[in-house]
């Protein structure tokens, strides 16, 4: 797929999210912009507190943004929007949460958990259709339809995460925000969930915003990766390119810290330390610039020059 043909499904333009805590204001997300193309898995990587989840929540309208705007399928979906558009966003943009142990209603049966979105948006004709769709959603994620009458506590972590995915899929979304969907899962089960996400991308042309802190997983699943540090995207590139040529010191730090399952390499690995004070932005303001096609880095003129020499 060439770059020109790709059509963005979601555009995040210069958004900021501030949280007020007493007199202090926390700049959780600070003027962030990116596009996500149709059928693409776009990953946001960063440590806890970097603002990656806040961006995901802003997209599904759980967090208000203070600056900028979010455009989904050519419509602005941030700020005050009409009721019909809001309900469209609620249907078309779904979220998968991190902890399957905490994100399912313990007192509801699986069929209610999965169909709740449909019921709330009255997106069905009769009970028969509702049951059918739950049946299919369960089959889609590799669970048995008879599980519909069970409670969440009867399932393992991996199964619960699939229930979470079924709940998102039943709304026939175009876009899914997957917030660390596998970090709470066991190694052997992670593969199942990753395969499932990839399958729906292939079969239904779904697009994902995949939020994670573990780069090894991200490399496998993403088309493009954005690295976020303290509420700012510091680097954005095609997944392979980012791994081959990381430019920003923070990206290098993250890559060097990622565990390598190879005892020869792992024991000789050198972890670089990122020191945010190394940037001197007092004289020159940094910009987020395209240093090679599709590869963006955050830095001032001198830094960008240095980065382009590294290419």
């Amino acid at each position: 797929m060439s770059r020109i043909e790709r059509e963005p499904i979601l555009k995040v333009e210069d958004i900021s999210v501030y949280f007020k805590n007493g007199k202090k204001t926390v700049h959780a997300v600070n003027h962030v912009s990116f596009d996500i193309f149709k059928g693409e898995t776009f990953s946001l990587v960063g440590e806890s507190g970097s603002g990656k989840t806040t961006i995901g929540r802003a997209i599904v309208r759980l967090n208000q943004i203070q600056t900028g705007r979010i455009i989904f399928q050519n419509e602005v979906i941030s700020g005050k929007i009409s009721r019909t558009l809001h309900s469209k966003v609620v249907r078309k943009v779904q979220m998968i949460f991190q902890d399957p142990m905490a994100s399912l209603n313990e007192r509801a049966k699986v069929n209610y958990i999965i169909s709740e979105g449909l019921i709330n948006s009255r997106e069905y004709k009769n009970q028969q259709e509702l049951d059918d769709r739950v049946h299919h959603a369960l089959l889609d994620v590799g669970l048995l339809p008879e599980f519909a009458s069970r409670f969440p506590h009867e399932f393992s972590g991996g199964q619960r995460q699939r229930i979470g995915i079924a709940r998102a899929l039943i709304m026939k979304p175009d876009f899914i925000v997957a917030d660390e969907p596998i970090s709470a899962l066991d190694v052997s089960i992670r593969a199942q969930v990753l395969n499932l996400l990839n399958k729906f991308k292939r079969e239904r042309g779904l697009s994902y915003l995949f939020i994670a802190h573990d780069l090894s997983v991200v490399r496998f699943i993403s088309d493009r990766i954005a690295v976020i540090y303290a509420g700012k995207i510091v680097e954005l590139a095609d997944a392979e390119r980012l791994f081959q040529k990381p430019l920003h010191p923070y990206t290098k730090n993250l890559l060097s810290a990622a565990p390598v399952p190879d005892p020869r390499l792992a024991k000789s690995k050198v972890v670089t330390i990122y020191d945010p004070t190394q940037h001197d932005y007092s004289k020159e303001k940094p910009t987020f610039s395209e240093i090679e096609p599709g590869h963006f880095v955050y830095g001032n003129v001198a830094e960008l020059e240095k980065y382009s020499k590294e290419l």
């Binding site: 190694v187 199942q192 060097s256 565990p259």
Partner: protein, 351 residues
């Protein structure tokens, strides 16, 4: 190098009593731990890795009992200990443990300096008057900047990584012989994780202690381990040096674990996924516990439990595939690629 055994487990069996039903999380494990080594125990949740090591310090939950076997440490059989007093001579002093979640393993109402001092005074490491000095020294040894002023801070004033450093300081306060780290970095960020791993390595070198690392992350295993034990359903199914287990694994479960790593996956392709769920440990397991999920399972796997087959002096695996009568089955392609370093993350990131 002559290996000196510091702790020796023989045929350990542990049972839990849950509402009248018995569950057997540890099914006859034998293990020799060598002085000064780092042994990593890997396996999925529920495989019994935490329960196994908790039995070394008498910290099984109250419904758990040791049904058989022995744990020999310094000439004593720890399974024979009855009184808490006996355990206090071992726990914390000789064998210390670092738990997964630094958010919950510290007392939120006590200043962190006091929490470490408590341990030092309890075990009479140094005279009382010097205790505070020793605490400050420990704090700076585990990399807490400005240790003197942080002595009287509360746990909530520390970040997750810093808290885990405090927990490690408590664990090594008595200069134990064995340090058990139970998923010490699972709750932490990758960048912090690598710092904690480095810290444990540094402490191990300085204090010349033996470390047991419990983790489900094979990336961490590769980084820290001299030897690796793979656990499944309450047994060690394969054990060997790190290189042997990563480059020449023999048990199908080890194959499956390694193949399911996204680092070895092919982009856009399917990642190998282990089907099914671990066995129900309430029921008696017949044959090889992994057989129902094993695509290479032989008929005999469902009938009889395999013994250990030695692969080398340091490497053995509990699978019938190693029996001379078994058909020759070659491991999945991924395993060969790991050895030849022919997988797509072969550049190891960029540094």
């Amino acid at each position: 190098m002559a290996k000196e055994t510091i702790l020796s487990v023989k045929d350990l069996e542990i049972e839990f009593n849950l509402r009248g039903k018995t569950l057997q999380p540890i099914r006859k494990i034998s293990l020799d731990l060598y002085k000064g080594e780092t042994l990593a125990i890997a396996g999925e949740s529920g495989s019994g890795k935490s329960v196994f090591t908790k039995s070394f310090i008498g910290m099984l939950d109250s419904n758990g009992t040791i049904k058989g076997g022995e744990i020999i440490f310094e000439g004593k059989d720890l399974t024979k200990f009855k009184k808490e007093k006996e355990w206090l001579q071992i726990r914390g002093k000789k064998i210390a443990m670092v738990f997964q979640d630094p958010m919950t393993s510290l007392n939120p109402l006590k200043r962190i300096g006091e929490q470490i001092r408590e341990v030092i005074i309890e075990h009479k490491v140094v005279p009382k008057e010097q205790a505070k000095q020793r605490v400050i020294q420990l704090l700076s040894e585990v990399g807490i900047p400005d240790a003197e002023s942080r002595y009287s801070d509360f746990p909530h004033q520390f970040s997750g990584g810093m808290r885990q450093r405090v927990v490690i300081a408590i664990a090594v306060a008595c200069q134990p012989d064995i340090l058990i780290c139970d998923e010490p970095t699972t709750a932490l960020d990758v960048t912090i994780q690598s710092q904690i791993i480095e810290l444990v390595k540094k402490i191990q070198k300085e204090l010349k202690i033996t470390v047991i690392y419990i983790t489900h992350d094979l990336g961490v295993v590769a980084e820290v381990a001299d030897r690796v034990a793979i656990m499944y359903a309450g047994q060690i199914v394969e054990i060997g040096t790190a290189e042997e287990v990563f480059f020449d694994p023999r048990h199908p479960y080890t194959w499956a674990l390694l193949s399911s790593l996204p680092q070895f996956g092919e982009k856009g392709g399917e990642l190998f996924a282990i089907e099914g769920v671990p066995p129900n440990l309430f029921k008696k397991i017949v044959g090889d516990a992994f057989a129902p999920r094993n695509r290479y399972a032989l008929e005999v796997d469902f009938l009889a439990e395999p013994p250990y087959f030695p692969v080398s002096e340091t490497h053995k695996a509990k699978t019938w595939l190693l029996d001379p009568r078994a058909p020759k089955i070659s491991p999945p392609d991924v395993i060969r690629r790991i050895k030849e370093r022919d997988y797509w993350q072969s550049d190891g990131g960029a540094v």
